[in-house]
Symmetry: C2
Subunit: 211 residues, 2 copies
């Protein structure tokens, strides 16, 4: 399977200023994501950990709590790469070789810094929640100091990054075009299903408008 | 946001034999995936690259072609981690702290080996295509020797891995249960849209049954 219609750029870009086209493109991809994959190496072993993601201005916020040993190491300032990927479609060409996928992806390179200030952490946690469910935040109580202390949120500046994407139909070899084989794209979308209320919820609480 | 209902296991498991419960669980998660994120470090810089994925017995097959410098380095036997993640739902708790996500994830650790034998590579490429679109392979011509030479497919044994998942409703703090706030899960599914035929396709070619 080939990347037949790449708009790939595997160079790292240094984008110090806002308003840059590549920066805007990276932000648009990040803003659609709920999860990113953060990679780093610890004692010669690479790890790739799925983490909740949001953007706060020109910072990527990432949050995870299970793998605390990993997150603690990451917060110590290890070099890392946070990758956001949207799989947009299966590209079915007339050959295996030219079959591909449509996707949009951003790799952000740098060192993750833990947010230590309580107010800043509270704002970042709010940004994560609001990103995942816009409108949700107004319904929630404030986080307590104890909760904030138990939360690790890392920020990674969106400065050195690479945007890659593939769009459009298959790009078959010219000698394959006339083969009597269906070719095209199967679009893929992450879709929300019907909300499932918690079993311990009191009767009569309506589903909020934002859901 | 916390992992309030974790079935996490961050230890690496060595699973030499088949038929193991954890192995079967990892395979089920992998078999549902189209993309994995492969992480490795080159010259002190971690990279996390989205790649097409399929399983062939107890091997993970990964395929990517854009970032050839990266793939070439990876094929040289760098330690890597390939992570498959399904995002299954947004878990909306009564607090930011207990909000979470439902997901299933497998991290596979090891060294990726390129498949060099032409027959083996052809079989692996077929497995990738058939995995992405079951039934598709019968419609496609065989790959040529030239195409196989231009293809890099890596295999990574599913031997050392870690399965993580979160399922179910939010797990709020007991003192939050009676808050008059809707709580629950928004399910998320990657869904296929209506197939889009290639513009260069001859008239009268029907959509195959497998699509």
């Amino acid at each position: 399977m080939t990347e037949t219609n790449p708009t790939a750029d595997t160079r790292h870009r240094r984008v110090p200023e806002r308003g840059n086209h590549d920066f805007e493109r990276a932000c648009a991809i990040i803003d659609e994501a709920r999860v990113c994959h953060v990679g780093f190496t610890l004692e010669n072993q690479p790890y790739v950990v799925p983490m909740a993601v949001a953007r706060q201005g020109s910072d990527l916020l990432v949050h995870g709590s299970v793998v605390s040993r990993l997150i603690t190491s990451l917060a110590d300032g290890l070099p890392c790469c946070a990758t956001v990927t949207h799989l947009d479609g299966l590209v079915l060409a007339r050959s295996s070789f030219h079959s591909s996928m449509n996707y949009r992806s951003v790799m952000v390179f740098g060192k993750a810094q833990p947010i230590t200030d309580a107010d800043e952490k509270s704002t970042a946690l709010d940004a994560l929640v609001e990103h995942l469910a816009p409108g949700r935040l107004a319904d929630l109580r404030e986080s307590s100091r104890k909760e904030l202390n138990a939360t690790t949120i890392l920020k990674l500046p969106i400065e050195t990054f690479s945007v890659k994407a593939r769009t459009g139909p298959p790009s078959d070899a010219s000698y394959d075009i006339d083969l009597p084989v269906w070719a095209g794209v199967i679009p893929l979308t992450l879709t929300e299903g019907k909300p499932i209320g918690a079993p311990d919820m009191a009767d009569g609480i309506p589903l909020p408008d934002y859901l």
